[in-house]
Amino acid sequence: AQSVTQLDSQVPVFEEAPVELRCNYSSSVSVYLFWYVQYPNQGLQLLLKYLSGSTLVKGINGFEAEFNKSQTSFHLRKPSVHISDTAEYFCAVTPASSNDYKLSFGAGTTVTVRA
């Protein structure tokens, strides 16, 4: 089974400052990793995903994440945030190859961007 721990439940940040959201995972098999964003009263939107290849993954809206297999981490970063980045962010994991089709999500990190 897979599990995800998001190390920060809330991250306040000033506009134009950098932000990092931390995600650690646990799995006995190879995994695919994801970051999703959820705006208030909306569904989930995919920011980026790691399937294979380069460990630095670039996503939408200027976000990027780095896969670190030895530390079982997949931290999300953005060099300069905007007010519109205020949202809930979820890290998720799924086995790379098996008959397990589900995503396992972390509890989420609330990002609040202040002017």
Binding site: Y101, K102, L103, F105, A107
Partner: protein, 114 residues
């Protein structure tokens, strides 16, 4: 191109009642998954349907059941509602070849049980 459509967007039910939620997948997608997101938590996998069969199920009681129709749309049914069933229910569609890494999520149905 329409994405994933869920209906209704909100509903309120009384304990003990039954509810049906509906999902129309993104055009071209053949697999539908359902997730429950309680307030302040991450989504939890309920089950996935492909070819009108339940392909995988999460740790949810039998009160939660589903169906997939020939046009790939899906329903989630919950019987004997409990207060703890109050949550946002998310539907995600994908192609069977891409699985969960090709998900498109809908905006969800907010269920309140009183």
């Amino acid at each position: 191109d329409a994405g994933v459509t869920q209906s209704p967007t909100h509903l309120i039910k009384t304990r003990g009642q039954q509810v049906t939620l509906r999902c129309s997948p993104k055009s071209g997608h053949d697999t539908v998954s359902w997730y429950q997101q309680a307030l302040g938590q991450g989504p939890q996998f309920i089950f996935q349907y492909y070819e009108e069969e339940e392909r995988q199920r999460g740790n949810f009681p039998d009160r939660f059941s589903g169906h997939q129709f020939p046009n790939y749309s899906s329903e989630l049914n919950v019987n004997a509602l409990l207060l703890g069933d109050s949550a946002l229910y998310l539907c995600a569609s994908s192609l069977v070849e891409t699985g969960s890494y090709g998900y498109t999520f809908g905006s969800g149905t907010r269920l309140t049980v009183v």
